[in-house]
Symmetry: C2
Subunit: 332 residues, 2 copies
DNA sequence: AGAATTATAGTAAACGTTTGCAAAATACGC
DNA sequence: GCGTATTTTGCAAACGTTTACTATAATTCT
């Protein structure tokens, strides 16, 4: 059995209200009694029961982090950013992997609200957050890595269309035309934005937009490899390709090499995200970097500010759109 | 304000005890009243307050996962295994990164016990778990990826000495002698075990154990690269090297290439862990695979079994030592 | 029909804290 | 010393549940 405040009170012979005050450094308790209480608490190896405290204070000092899959190399860094910032503020974080399943996402959100987390950081799989509303109600949320949120929500993300533009522009300017686009699921909001950047760049540089050069699959490496091979097999032969994310891009490089294309001479490829592998000399992927760790940090900063406001309704939504950053390596 | 059980009781005009029973599917409440209660609960978008429930049941259905760094490619998979298994059993998991700092580890454990997690899974940075004892007391723990635990603790890990043996043996049998060992911090328990396997293999195959061929640094990729270069600069020229973990091994490959060595002909290298990158064709690292995801799952299985026991004292410790698995790729 | 049984509902205590308010103790001023 | 101001303490309610126990209502049995 864990020692409670009452145990201490009994031993030190004061009321447990006094013990509570002493333990919380409230003023109005005689230094000497406080000392005795603290000593006894230490002797009993007392640990305050955060559950009981949470019940009366209506605050758990916990937040939920809901992401698709920590195993996907994009997320560990944002998780770390979230965790670091939370920890510094005295918050703990529940990690939840939705595995890209919509109902698992919903179940988690329900579970977390049951546990009365003080806030939620969500990288949603659902492309719209409408469905989530019913479950969220009173819990503050900040979305991460999406813009598809209803009017009064906060988020932090990067400028995907600019990123797509930058990637495509580089390819065009280095003469790697025609440039293809290989992306993951077509209905992803993120993909649509990057695709828009791609198209915008093509237009600005007077390149034709040829639908045969744009393909959609999923976010797996193998897919990139398969798609590029399929493409050239069908006779569409890009000189450059913008892979909507790094995993795809790496797959593209691998597939291209398999069919004898030299990177970047025969085919230049640029990715998106700058996952850790991208910088390995063996890969050396030119890519659009997202400040993943910082995104995590910012998200909790916004969230905590929001949690701090007593008057929840009046908090202005915050929308932080970070700058993408072209990091040039050997693949393009 | 969130709806409570009392709100429902008031509206449906029953006592809140009845509401509680209805919501928990306890028998002894008339089907019709139950129906009315459930309907009202749904209408009010009622979410049970797990905090209040936890207080009386002395169970939070949460566990803590304490690891060094989710950003290290070894951990996401075990975290995922933990999370999946926990989720299936209705538990949530707190993610805590100690950043390899001992006192941060301690602080986290203290925090988590304050939050009254039902159990803890720890990949400890401290090479001995003695220090942790005071903080743990009543909380069930299972350690992961270490054997340095006091007598009555449970853990799941792999057979590191066997892994080290396998790696070294392969190198010897393919004629890649002399074989070097490059490891992380010398006082790591894990390292010592792998090193033991290395030495054992050398002995079994009648190879000399030459201390100039074994080096210790840290677990970073750059370190591997630096060390191999330094080694040959000093005139000790192994034909094979066993990198104590994959990051190191990859660094070794990179460093070797930089100084013109061909892999695996001039230098064969085998790593340890089988992190996701290892299988990339550009790397194609021969390595000792750990079943990371399964380790996570097993850890929670053991933990939950332990939590389920009312009589905590009598639970026999469980020690699960998984088999390492040599996966042969191109680097050796 | 009445007793005995069973199904349903309510009362109240408990979980371990925090906190407003009142009581007691101490210090201060003259 | 006595009244007053101030510091230190205690009492009790509250947070939202669960649950043992008791009370009432409904059903079954003879």
């Amino acid at each position: 059995m864990d020692a409670t405040i009452k145990d201490i009170a009994r031993i030190v012979k004061v009321s447990y209200a006094t013990v509570s005050r002493a333990l919380n450094n409230k003023h109005g308790v005689k230094p000497e009694t406080r000392k005795r209480i603290l000593e006894e608490a230490h002797r009993l190896n007392y640990r305050p029961n955060a559950i009981a405290r949470g019940l009366v204070k209506k605050q758990t000092h916990s937040i939920g982090l809901v992401i698709p899959d920590i195993t996907n190399p994009f997320y560990p860094e944002v998780a770390r950013g979230v965790e670091d910032a939370a920890q510094e503020a005295g918050f703990s974080v529940f990690l939840c992997n939705t595995n890209w399943e919509r109902d698992r996402e919903l179940r988690y959100i329900e579970l977390l609200t049951s546990k009365r987390v003080d806030g939620l950081i969500i990288a949603p799989v659902s492309e719209t957050t409408e469905t989530l509303q019913r479950f969220l109600r009173s819990v503050p949320v900040v979305y991460v890595s999406t813009t598809a949120v209803s009017a009064h929500e906060s988020y932090v993300t990067i400028d995907n269309v600019k990123g797509g533009y930058l990637a495509t522009e580089l390819l065009i300017r280095t003469g790697k035309t025609p440039v293809a686009f290989i992306g993951s699921e077509e209905d992803s909001h993120t993909l649509q934005e990057r695709l828009e950047g791609y198209k915008q760049a093509l237009k600005d540089y007077h390149q034709p937009v040829d639908e045969r050069y744009v393909r959609f699959g999923d976010f797996k490496r193998e897919t990139g490899s398969r798609f590029i091979k399929k493409m050239v097999l069908e006779g569409v032969k890009p000189k450059g390709v913008f892979g909507e994310n790094d995993l795809l891009a790496i797959g593209i490089i691998q597939g291209a090499k398999e069919i004898g294309l030299a990177i970047p001479d025969d085919l230049a490829v640029v990715g998106f995200d700058d996952i850790p592998f991208a910088s390995f000399p063996e890969i050396s992927l030119t890519t659009i970097a997202q400040p993943k760790y910082e995104m995590g940090r910012y998200a909790v900063e916004i969230l905590l500010k929001r949690i701090g406001m007593e008057d929840t309704g009046s908090f202005p939504r915050q929308r932080l759109i970070l700058e993408p950053n072209l990091v040039r390596r050997k693949s393009a």
